[in-house]
């Protein structure tokens, strides 16, 4: 692991940095420029396009993934800063042919329309349940407020999370 990165010979562009990420249980070695976001690394280098780029400014939550057990915004995360981390994306939630209870609940409760925010909503909800702090509908709404849904499926999203909590 480098502690500093020497610039290229002509010093116009910094060199790429080797990092290791464990994404959905699979180790990946990447060579990345410092300014590559975790979101772009997942989508463009690892072809995991389930994670969506919504605003790219940390305002919408569509890019939510789980890094070392915490839900974070991958658009405001530099991939090089997460060298060695374990990342879970929406692609890593199902086991075998069985959907994760949160994924199944989103289907059962009709918790999405266009679907663009859904992978972020689902990753956020999986982490919310693991955090264990939301009990009431008010608390679910508050702790899911970082995930915006332009279709306005919020009541169904809350219902889906309540369903998944009941199963957990």
């Amino acid at each position: 692991m480098p502690t500093s990165t020497a610039p290229d010979a002509d010093t116009s562009l910094p060199g790429k940095i080797p990092i290791t990420l464990t994404v959905n249980g699979t180790e990946a070695q990447l060579q990345l420029s410092p300014w590559v976001s975790l979101l772009d690394a997942l989508r463009d280098r690892l072809n995991l396009t389930g994670t969506k780029k919504g605003c790219d400014h940390g305002q919408c939550g569509a890019c939510t993934v789980i890094v070392d057990g915490r839900r974070v915004l991958s658009c405001l995360t530099l991939a090089v800063m997460k060298d060695g981390a374990k990342v879970t994306t929406v692609e890593g939630l199902a086991s075998g042919g069985t959907l994760h209870p949160v994924q199944q609940a989103f289907i059962d409760q009709d918790a999405f329309q266009c679907g663009y925010c859904t992978s972020g909503q689902i990753c956020s909800a999986v982490a919310l349940i693991a955090e264990g702090r939301a009990k009431s509908a008010d608390e679910i709404r508050e702790l899911m407020s970082g995930n915006i849904c332009r279709c306005g499926a919020y009541p169904n999203i809350v219902a889906a999370i309540q369903q998944a909590m009941g199963r957990a």
């Binding site: 502690t3 500093s4 976001s37 940390g58």
Partner: protein
């Protein structure tokens, strides 16, 4: 996103050494504000020094009964830490009123102090802004200034400080521990953030070659009589129009000690010694609270679109002091203001 060089700091001394040798370098920890500003090209560092792996993640009680919070403790860990929830529930409440759980998971304690205004002209590089480009002018003074400051403004800048956490830290009289080339020093919270004056480009009195290592809280936590009320355009995940941290120590009805800090109305978390003095020694009544609010807002100055903030702040202060006196702090999940 702009291009930049990247390195990791091995320890605090190494971080200070690296920033001294790179004039266009900045520290990055959570990155939630800095990386966003870099995407807009408001911030253009040539080099990021990653301090996120430094061992500044502890929350511990000191021998003198104070609590020291490492600068890299994530906001969410701080809000839910048992020591903070029990002894400083106003701080816990204020943190939970800000941002979203994803952002609180990323954002560091030290970084929260250093986040920059969300003034839309500061973000829009096509418009003049004295904070972003000193001497270019202020677009907000005669522009859309509904979100802007009513106290402590200057001809150069009417931006507000965006933090909720800092409003509680101001009320609690925290200290900021910093390290730099000349060693360590302690900055009282009231002296950490600056008013805009004619140098709005400087948000704080932290020197560019210094690093925040910890925040220290005095033993007095006001755990019985406190509240944090945040008034905003949405119920959650929005910056404050006005927020109030209120903390009291009561003996019967009598106010022994009072702290009052406001967010969303000034370039820094706003406290007024005279307003707090007007509460001390008085009975905790609505009239007392109104008098304190009048004193705090006596110098308020409205611009074209934010005059509503003066009356909003007055009512929020009275409501917050009432909640604090009654021992019924504002819920941050059920948003009804009672």
């Amino acid at each position: 996103m702009i291009n930049f060089r990247y390195s990791r700091a091995g320890d605090v001394a190494d971080a200070v050494r690296q920033i001294a040798s790179e004039p266009r370098a900045k520290f990055v920890a959570g990155g939630t504000n800095l990386l966003d500003l870099m995407k807009y090209e408001v911030e253009r560092p040539g080099h990021l020094i990653d301090i996120s792996r430094l061992p500044l993640t502890g929350i511990e009680e000191t021998a003198s009964g104070r609590v020291r919070i490492g600068a890299l403790v994530p906001n969410s860990d701080l809000a839910y830490h048992p020591l903070i929830e029990e002894r400083y529930p106003m701080l816990s409440s204020a943190i939970r009123a800000g941002a979203s759980q994803q952002l609180r998971n990323m954002a560091s304690t030290g970084g929260n102090l250093l986040q920059r205004t969300r003034c839309s002209y500061f973000y829009d590089v096509a418009t003049p802004c004295n904070k972003r480009e000193p001497g270019s002018g202020c677009s907000a003074i005669d522009g859309h200034n509904r979100m802007h400051a009513i106290l402590g403004t200057s001809e150069a800048c009417i931006a507000t400080h965006p933090s909720d956490m800092c409003v509680a830290l101001a009320a609690l009289e925290a200290n900021v521990n910093v390290a730099g080339p000349a060693g360590e020093r302690v900055i009282a919270f009231a002296d950490f953030h600056r008013l805009p004056g004619d140098t709005p480009q400087r948000d704080t009195n932290l020197e560019p070659n210094e690093i925040i290592t910890a925040i220290e809280l005095p033993a007095r936590g006001f755990a019985q009589n406190y509240t944090y009320i945040k008034i905003r355009d949405r119920l959650s995940y929005a910056f404050a129009l006005v927020s109030v941290a209120a903390a009291l120590e009561l003996e019967g009805k009598n106010i022994k000690e009072a702290r009052l800090a406001l967010g969303g109305i000034a370039h820094k978390p706003w406290r007024d010694e005279n307003a707090e003095a007007a509460l001390r020694g008085q009975n905790a009544t609505r009239d007392t609270f109104k008098r304190a609010a009048d004193i705090l807002l006596s110098g308020a100055k409205a611009y074209a679109h934010n005059a509503f903030k003066i009356e909003l702040a007055r009512r929020a202060i009275v409501r917050a002091l009432t909640q604090a006196a009654q021992g019924t702090p504002q819920s941050q999940s059920n948003k009804k203001v009672l």
